[in-house]
Subunit: 283 residues, 4 copies
């Protein structure tokens, strides 16, 4: 089924639902899912509506023009996406390959509806895997001294492939503010702790030292403040006194790939709205 | 906030969302939550919409008359409930008091929006608890021979209090078909297994014998087939070889009260739609 | 079954297991559980062994004298407890009663093997509940100015009842260092976050503001640093954008009582060893 | 660290712990983990003990002869394994590759300590994956008519490689009784339901029809009764009304690979004792 998905956030007002429903009905939309939420504290209206475009009588290239008057009337922030248009995703990776393996296998099996035109790494380690899945693998070495040039090279690749989303699959370099500012809500990271606990480096070591009974992983959009962006997905796993740091790292790998893949999937399926440093994840 | 909640299921057709949204907008409804789902297999439209009735210009006593034309047009099965009208709940219990303790404490703390005019039991054991919470406690002994009379006595009490919902909080008697048929989708039971595993008697003993690694509990509407009604909520808990049957029963108590209370709450908040022997639980 | 439980921690050395097993065998112990763990990083030997004392030929009053030579040889920190001796527990509570309800019900149902000679509160709110369960309820008002006197009054009560364990069941006052130092590893608190995230006040509000996808609760021994003592048990629960702060607080109540009761139970069953600011919880 | 692991089950008797501990101490064993459990119902003693063999003064080739007198005295069923000896594992797979991908990646990353000399399949589909990981891939077609011959060919391969463990990674053929009887407690299967619910074919379809709120997966040893062998590991995942059968199958893949890999790992680390159609999994 080819569907269109409309995401809307705006000040809450009466008549919003009716205006949107009528607009879609006018063009004969066959709605397959709709979910709306009102945030009382922020007085916000948040909505996701998805419809089958088979019988939709409005050409999607004309959608923006047709919808804008309603958007203006209600001061909407909105976006629309077609399931037929597969987003272009770049994966950044360093040496740890467990998230990459997972993403590539899910992509191949059809779980992640996107194209992956390239993988960028600061190391050669994962090239074999990229080759197996037939995805171009670019090594751009990053040092203390060449950060600006390396990011320039990365951005050239991203622009050449018209990348929509960047997934940091345990990429061990911090991106510059300029970089992340160029891809707002379009860079997803996986952090190996239950944020906001253990922000920054070596979270498993610190979790071990603190003696927590559960370890966690958090996927979030990258902003200019490290490990502080809007959280998309989190999960935890029970550990015991028998688990040393190596075992925490091993168990954590399962968490990391589950949490990252769920976050990427929610993004690709246009289920995420960001507001007030938080996310709404429509189910 | 005083809200109204409309639950709708009907054959899926274009224009449904618009018709409902327009109807509500006509009377100046301030929608606070709306969620709709289309079941493709069954070609069903399923919706829950909740609005603040403060500015609603249609008197709720006139709602049915005003809405029925739309309901007829789309062949809707529908119901509307006001949060201001607290449903009347009867709890049935035998000797085990853990679910009863939990329900009464949640009720007192305001988590369960309902009135509880009576508790019915076939034993005296829980009378002290009922007294503490100030709820009339009726003992109706049930034997092999007096089932019909005891049910008659129970139903007289239920009718006298105009009971909307019956919660079987580990009530150890099987109700007759006549009884359950009189309260369709209005009797909630808790079964101490992860249904459909271990239907019937002694599920913990059978779980122990089978060597399962998780035990479960299931809350469902009671139908005339034992342990076969539409499932509302389920959950599980990990066990180990160190847990003997007594420990399974103990651990299971936590599961039972969590699962039952979530199911009762979903019912009281009008979040449940039943179709095709399944439930939709709107979140 | 009346059992004895021996908890041991000491520098790891060969022959430890044999020395302990031989000692127990000499006196005809019937071991029902034994679990030992070696912490390589700290070079520690940690053990819990539990035996049926029915046929044990050493009078338990003579145990210490008989065992001390072995303890000295291996520099053991050790303790032994008899299941027949029920620890004496004091519960501290303020206004929130959900943890208290839970502990008292578990106590009554036999899940928590202990005596509860008294409840201490800075408010009258929970007196009815204490009365229902037949437990003396002492109100000791705490103000900015009377902290020292109020603690003195509390400690007089604790000493009069020879209290072994203090459970802070959402007690909203910070105990002084003198107080907690007098009860090392004998004061258990429940904190309503997944520590070390959201230490200190109003964790649900901060969790809401940060937009986490799971809320947590942590039970720990109280030390002189707030929310920093050795963690005994933690758990989490999924939340969604539909949950406002009130709902977080409600959902959190279920977490708090589960986590606190598991921690108290582990303590009462002598399953906890503390070392290096961590706990080993023998299962 | 090179360790030896001893697994013991026998009738419970006093002196067992001392006899085993003394035996190990006699030969200067440095115990790193020990865990014992008494099953009262069956009057069984169950133990796992693991020691560093660096200083162990008994040559492991002479272990059996030295230990047998103790084993005889206590009627022990026992086995000993060296971590240095990597078990040989054969993986059987059909067309679904998600479990295979997972096992091979875990193997490569060092999580599964074993050798995988061969993969056997009734289809060509997974050959590319096997090639990528450098593991010989044998296709043995199975039809209604050639079952005996195909099993003969499979067993010839298994015997040639001296296979210790067979992992059915979504292998869609039922093995004959002769086959499974030849590998008792050495064939691990993954079933895509929470057994004993939905034994047999199409469990996701039946779970969907029944309207369960959680789906599960179960890993078990294969016996001659289908889906009835001793359960090693189980887990579940929450689903909602928004999940159609395809989504159940997708979500289930994550469960299947987690559950299967944990079971295989427990087996490889000699953590499993089977008795009374159940397993003890030492943690």
């Amino acid at each position: 089924m080819n569907t269109a998905t409309l995401l809307i956030s705006c000040p809450d007002r009466k008549g919003l639902s009716a205006a949107i429903a009528n607009f879609l009905y006018t063009y004969n939309a066959n709605i397959v899912h709709a979910d709306q939420h009102q945030d009382e504290t922020e007085n916000l209206f948040l909505m996701r509506v998805e419809w089958d475009v088979t019988d939709f009588s409005l050409d999607m290239s004309a959608f923006a023009a047709a919808f804008q008057p309603i958007a203006d009337r209600f001061q909407m922030t909105w976006s629309v996406a077609l399931s037929a248009r597969r987003p272009k995703v770049a994966i950044f990776v360093s040496k740890y390959d467990h998230c990459l393996v997972d993403l590539l296998h899910r992509h191949k099996s059809g779980e992640l509806r996107c194209d992956i035109p390239l993988i960028i790494s600061n190391h050669e380690d994962c090239r074999g895997l990229a080759d197996y899945y037939g995805i171009p693998y670019h090594v751009i070495t990053v040092t203390k001294d060449n950060k600006a040039e390396s990011e320039q090279a990365q951005r050239a690749l991203l622009e050449a492939s018209q990348i929509d989303l960047i997934v940091l699959a345990r990429y061990m370099q911090v991106l510059s503010h300029e970089f992340t500012a160029s891809y707002p809500q379009r860079v997803i990271n996986i952090h190996h702790s239950f944020l906001p606990a253990f922000e920054g480096a070596k979270p498993y070591h610190r979790a071990f030292a603190r003696g927590v009974k559960l370890i966690g992983a958090t996927s979030h959009y990258v902003t200019e403040v490290l490990d502080d962006g809007p959280i998309i997905e989190q999960d935890v796993m029970r550990i015991s006194h028998r688990d040393d740091i190596d075992m925490l790292i091993q168990k954590g790998r399962d968490l990391e790939r589950m949490v990252l893949s769920r976050a990427v999937r929610a993004h690709l399926e246009n289920r995420i709205l960001v507001y007030a440093k938080k996310t709404v994840i429509f189910s």
